[in-house]
């Protein structure tokens, strides 16, 4: 893979969004300082939780850019990747950890190098199966519910991927 990166938000939308968020914090602090403080603490907790995952993702991205050629990505995740592509997308979705936005840069990079939209859609939906939390789901809703729901999530992820590919092909 070449080393050309994909800093997608080329415009200033990120900074504008950050400014809006800061303004919202300002308004909250004006109305009730404790709300703003509590929100800030919660945000810091989220940041602490995702920072290590984000670093791992970016390290993986660097490794991917160093060792994997775009041709390989097209073969495994592009048009004609067949069952292999679906397997990687669904398994990747189930095994990926952390918030979905942490994975956006890597998926965007794969997409830029030929990965199909359908596989990315399937990856996102398969993330609805949260392996570490399955015991809790079993505790609340039972083993049968958990198994049936997990099966339909995977089936749904695949069907959505197929639909997304068809939509993209028509546009």
């Amino acid at each position: 893979m070449n080393t050309k990166q994909a800093p997608k938000p080329k415009n200033r939308s990120g900074w504008i969004m950050l400014l809006i968020t800061l303004l919202l914090y300002g308004v909250s602090a004006f109305l009730d300082v404790s709300i703003a403080r509590s929100a800030l603490n919660k945000s810091l907790d989220v940041l602490k939780m995702i920072a290590p995952i984000l670093l791992v993702v970016f390290f993986l991205l660097a490794l991917m850019n160093t060792f994997i050629k775009p041709k390989s990505i097209v073969r495994y995740l592009g048009k004609g990747s067949g069952l292999k592509g679906w397997f990687f997308a669904l398994a990747g979705g189930v095994l990926s950890h952390g918030s979905s936005y942490v994975w956006y840069p890597m998926l965007s990079e794969l997409r830029d190098h030929g990965a199909r939209d359908g596989l990315i859609v399937a990856f996102f939906y398969a993330r609805a199966i949260k392996l570490p939390w399955l015991p809790l789901m079993v505790g609340y809703f039972g083993i049968v519910f958990t198994l049936v729901l997990s099966f339909y999530i995977l089936l749904g992820a695949w069907i959505q991927g197929v639909i997304a590919d068809k939509i993209v092909a028509k546009i």
């Binding site: 080393t3 050309k4 990166q5 800093p7 997608k8 938000p9 939308s13 990120g14 900074w15 969004m17 950050l18 809006i20 968020t21 919202l24 914090y25 709300i35 509590s38 929100a39 800030l40 919660k42 945000s43 810091l44 989220v46 970016f58 390290f59 991205l61 660097a62 850019n65 160093t66 918030s99 936005y101 956006y104 840069p105 998926l107 965007s108 939209d117 990315i120 859609v121 996102f124 939906y125 993330r127 609805a128 949260k130 939390w133 809790l136 609340y140 809703f141 049968v144 519910f145 049936v148 729901l149 339909y152 999530i153 749904g156 069907i159 959505q160 639909i163 997304a164 993209v168 546009i171």
Partner: protein, 144 residues
């Protein structure tokens, strides 16, 4: 051919440039998550449901879609809703929408993947939250 170490260094520099470019948006999303979790309480979410299965399923999908937080929170809230007599259709749709839809991270998804992909993916996730909840409950009814 460029040596491996040089290629890796270049790739690292590139990825950090990439990280830097999306950092403001990520920080904004994290900030919004904190505000949402502080202002919107589980009790507020409970109060939105009426007990009518179809209406509750739609509300659950919408509420799940705008909710943020660890997935286990959706199981806990979902479990409580079930105890209060809210249908399993609605609770399943709520859990699914919680993890597959993301209104708070929508601007980031839009900025990185573009409008077409973001609209398509979120629409599909919304429709499938309803469909998957329906087939799951139907299958459970058949099995029991």
């Amino acid at each position: 051919m460029t040596p491996l170490s040089t290629r890796f260094k270049q790739a690292l520099a590139g990825t950090f440039k990439s990280l830097y470019s999306i950092l403001p948006m990520i920080l904004a999303v994290i900030g919004l998550v904190g505000l949402y979790q502080t202002i919107v309480t589980p009790q507020m979410l409970h109060s939105l449901f009426s007990g009518a299965p179809l209406q509750d399923t739609l509300i659950a999908t919408l509420v799940g879609g705008v909710s943020v937080g660890q997935p286990f929170l959706s199981y806990i809230i979902g479990g409580e809703l079930l105890k209060e007599g809210i249908s399993l259709y609605a609770v399943t749709a709520f859990i699914l929408a919680w993890v597959t839809l993301g209104v708070v991270q929508l601007p980031l998804e839009w900025a990185i993947f573009g409008s077409r992909f973001t609209i398509m993916r979120n629409l599909l996730s919304f429709i499938f939250a309803l469909l998957v909840s329906w087939v799951t409950v139907a299958t459970l009814s058949t099995l029991s």
